[in-house]
């Protein structure tokens, strides 16, 4: 380029800059009725293949220890047995010197908001020394727990907390481990001292929930003197077992429990889904279940309540340690109450897209409410044999022009 043209180009640059400086615009939708505007369309695919599943859930080291029994006309006669064991060497302030004569009590704190059963009733419990081995980390609902001598008893109504006397014999047994200074003292305590079992005295009609973080044993020092000091002995291990007898199952429904005794395996109609939707722009896919609200309401005895269920989980079927995965594993899909109060809506958009467009080849989802809290929650959902309008379904929402 010669000098004249270079100079000329320099002259042009400000013109170009001027060109770029444009005023604000107000683009909008005039004429958009002529364009292909996207519309939402909805397709419903009924789920026709299901299988009821039942697992024995883990019940140790959870947030609550359910105590009591309740004959639920819908979900069976439920009886629980609580297990707890104090730690051997609680943290004691330096200013306190623990005397061999210390007293010991059990303090139980109850979740005031959660009761399963007759809220107005009183429940009686007996406390026994456990004589069989158990570990909270491996405890299952149906583990057989053997217990021996009676250690104490209590009755609970609508109290938030109770302080319960325990037997001198059990206290002395604990003290022998407390003051044991042998090298293997901890090991001996773990293997030989099995803690206490809280057994429901029949007939009780409610299950209360002990909060683990707030319940403890109380060490009361200086009972021979004018002043006493109280030291908390937190729980070293805890859990519960649960027995559920005679669970009726209304036709066309399936029960779900946080304790994994009720789950549903759903087979997604994979090929149908692909045929009907492989050319659709899916923006949402929901797996919808309907709660048998009428049956739930009509089967509840007077003054009784069940713990509500607000979420419904769907997990891609697991083959390794399914109980652990369905109870403690991360949820693949979490559903919430749907647009109608009695429905649960589980968003499975990514799963459906993976089935249609990706590598997903597992067509089975496990529906349940497995929980690591220890609260006993149950609900009844309609299955594919339920009333037509309440059968489980997949709702596909797509954009079409």
């Amino acid at each position: 380029m010669n000098k004249a043209n270079k100079g000329f180009l320099t002259f042009c640059i400000p013109l170009l800059i001027l060109f770029f400086i444009s005023s604000c615009e107000d683009p909008g939708s005039v004429g958009s009725e002529f364009a292909d505007r996207p519309n939402l369309t909805f397709d419903t695919l009924l789920v026709s293949e299901t299988q009821k599943l039942s697992y024995v859930g883990y019940s140790g080291l959870l947030s609550f220890i359910p105590l009591g029994e309740f004959s639920d006309p819908l979900f069976g006669d439920i009886t629980t047995l609580g297990l707890l064991k104090p730690i051997r060497t609680p943290s004691v302030p330096d200013s306190i010197e623990i005397a061999e004569s210390f007293d010991m009590k059990l303090e139980l704190k109850f979740d005031s908001l959660q009761t399963y059963g007759d809220t107005l009733s009183q429940s009686g419990f007996s406390i026994y020394e456990v004589i069989s081995d158990w570990r909270g980390s491996t405890l299952r609902l149906n583990d057989d727990i053997q217990y021996g001598d009676l250690v104490g008893s209590f009755t609970v109504g609508d109290e938030d907390s109770l302080v319960i006397e325990v037997s001198e014999q059990w206290k002395e047994k604990y003290k022998s481990y407390y003051f044991n200074e042998d090298a293997n003292a901890d090991s001996a305590y773990n293997y030989e001292f099995q803690g206490l079992a809280i057994v429901s005295n029949q007939p009780n009609s409610k299950i209360s929930f002990t909060t683990v973080t707030q319940s403890s044993f109380l060490l009361i020092n200086g009972i021979d003197s004018d002043t006493t000091d109280t030291v908390n002995i937190p729980l070293n291990d805890w859990g519960f077992t649960l027995q559920r007898d005679v669970e009726p199952e209304p036709e066309g429904t399936f029960p779900i429990h946080t304790t994994l005794e009720g789950l549903l395996e759903v087979t997604i109609p994979d090929s149908l889904l692909k045929v009907q939707n492989n050319s659709k722009n899916i923006v949402r896919a929901d797996l919808v279940f309907f709660e048998a609200r009428d049956i739930l309401d009509s089967t509840l005895p007077p003054n009784s309540i069940r713990l509500g269920v607000n979420i419904l989980n769907a997990d891609i079927v697991e083959t390794f340690e399914p109980e652990y995965e369905y109870q403690f594993g991360s949820r693949d899909f979490v559903g919430t109450r749907g647009e109608t109060e009695s429905s649960f809506q589980i968003g499975i958009t990514n799963y459906v897209n993976n089935l249609i467009f990706g590598d997903q080849d597992i067509q089975k989802l496990i529906i349940g409410i497995g929980s690591s809290s220890g609260a006993i929650r149950s609900s009844l959902l309609y299955d594919e044999n339920g009333p037509e309008e309440y059968r489980p379904r997949i709702i596909i929402t797509s954009l079409e022009n």
């Binding site: 004249a4 043209n5 060109f19 939708s29 005039v30 364009a35 996207p38 722009n281 647009e339 997903q360």
Partner: protein, 434 residues
């Protein structure tokens, strides 16, 4: 849409209420949407003119091109004395209205690029160029709603856009057989790259954002012919009459349409096809243009030119119904004149320029709701001539009236500013004197 843009839009969705999202999407349209009527077919026919031709409102088949190359008549390339590089830019503002509402669209775009090279001065020359034949540049932002389960309503904003169109990569030759006759031929690779996009954002969680692209691609060979008759000293000693004509043959593009959508697949965003690739033939129309330019003296010239494009024979298997729009043959007529005071060598600033003006009427290629979509243009132009070289900068300002707001249609008041730069110099020329 680029991934970065998508991530930005997602972040915006988290940060702002839905109404503000729509506003954000709206504001993204700035200077990126053009004529509403580019919605139909393969887009709206482009005026492939430099700003000098636009300033006169003519086609450019008979206007002498000594200081601004033309794309429209290959015969002129044989008369080139100088090598040149030229390009143009357009800024167009559309005030769009129908019976219910109005809005403003704006479009900034590059127009063309052309290189010309004389092999034998004023005898044989070539041209290489890239320019658009049609262009889609519509954009609509709407908020719609749908009733979902439980009688709840979900709102969604859709951003519907069109971009691209038919382009030509053209190489041609012109031959000035003698002082009176020149001819030219330009084969071209005619290709379509048109993308109709649709992004949808929802007011509720649980709905995935949809990013859909419908992309049409294909190519074919095109052929353009031109001829020019020049008559000197016809009525006086300094006059010149040019009669030019140019014809582009119709062509068939074997094209395919690929509809894809971005989805979260196997844990990451992937582009997946929504259907099998559609294949089909797009029939492009032939065109014929002709015109007369008369130079009574060295200081002024007048041109009258016309263009016919047979859009009635256009067809494409990829066109949507779009409200029953049909294509029809298009005729464009233009008349304009130029005044060249710079040739007087006057020291006054305003005398160092070239002025032009004109008017054109375009019957359009569309009939929508039984209404022909025509355009009336009023044009004015200004040429800045480099005092020390043969380069020029040409600017044009046009005001156009397109369509009608009757029959639920859209009327566009258009302001268009065009700028083209033509850099010319002698190449391969050994100067005899220092």
């Amino acid at each position: 849409m680029k991934k970065t843009t998508k991530y930005l839009l997602c972040a915006v969705m988290l940060a702002f209420p839905f109404s503000e999202i729509a506003a954000q999407v709206d504001s993204n349209s700035k200077t990126r949407s053009g004529s509403f009527y580019s919605l139909f077919g393969v887009g709206f026919p482009t005026d492939n003119n430099n700003a000098r031709e636009l300033g006169m409102g003519i086609i450019g088949v008979s206007l002498d091109n000594s200081r601004a190359s033309t794309l429209n008549n290959p015969a002129f390339w044989g008369k080139n004395a100088l090598a040149s590089a030229s390009s143009g830019f357009n800024y167009t503002s559309f005030d769009v209205s129908n019976q219910n509402s109005n809005n403003t669209n704006a479009l900034f775009e590059a127009g063309y690029i052309q290189l010309t090279l004389p092999f034998y001065r004023e005898k044989l020359g070539m041209s290489a160029s890239m320019y658009s034949v049609t262009r889609s540049n519509y954009r609509f932002v709407n908020i719609d709603s749908a009733v979902v389960a439980g009688n709840n309503t979900v709102e969604y904003a859709s951003d519907v856009r069109g971009a691209g169109g038919i382009n030509r990569l053209e190489f041609g030759m012109g031959w000035a057989i003698n002082n009176n006759i020149a001819i030219g031929y330009a084969p071209s690779l005619t290709f379509i790259t048109q993308n109709n996009s649709q992004d949808v954002f929802f007011s509720q969680s649980g709905y995935g954002t949809s990013n859909l692209d419908s992309r049409i691609t294909g190519s074919t060979l095109g052929h353009k012919f031109g001829a020019l008759l020049s008559f000197h000293k016809l009525f006086n000693d300094t006059d010149l009459l040019n009669i030019g004509t140019s014809a582009t043959l119709g062509s068939s593009i074997e094209a395919e349409r690929d509809v894809t959508v971005v989805k979260q697949i196997n844990g990451r965003e992937q582009i997946v096809p929504l259907s099998d690739i559609d294949k089909g033939t797009i029939e492009l129309p032939a065109s014929l243009s002709a015109g007369v330019s008369y130079y009574p003296n060295n200081l002024m010239n007048f041109s009258a030119e016309g263009l016919f494009e047979g859009w009635g024979s256009y067809s494409s298997p990829f066109d949507n119904d779009n409200g029953g729009a049909t294509m029809k043959d298009r005729i464009k007529l233009g008349f304009g004149g130029e005044y060249h005071p710079y040739k007087l060598d006057s020291p006054r600033l305003l005398s160092k320029l070239r002025y032009s003006g004109g008017v054109s009427y375009d019957t359009g290629h569309l009939t929508v709701n039984n209404q022909d979509i025509n355009t009336l243009w009023f044009s004015a132009g200004l040429g800045i001539i480099s005092p020390r070289s043969n380069s020029t900068v040409n600017m044009s300002l046009r005001y156009g009236l397109r369509g009608t707001s009757d029959n639920n249609l859209v009327k566009e008041n258009i302001w268009s500013f065009n700028l083209s730069i033509n850099l010319s110099e002698l190449m391969f020329f050994r100067q005899k004197l220092n």
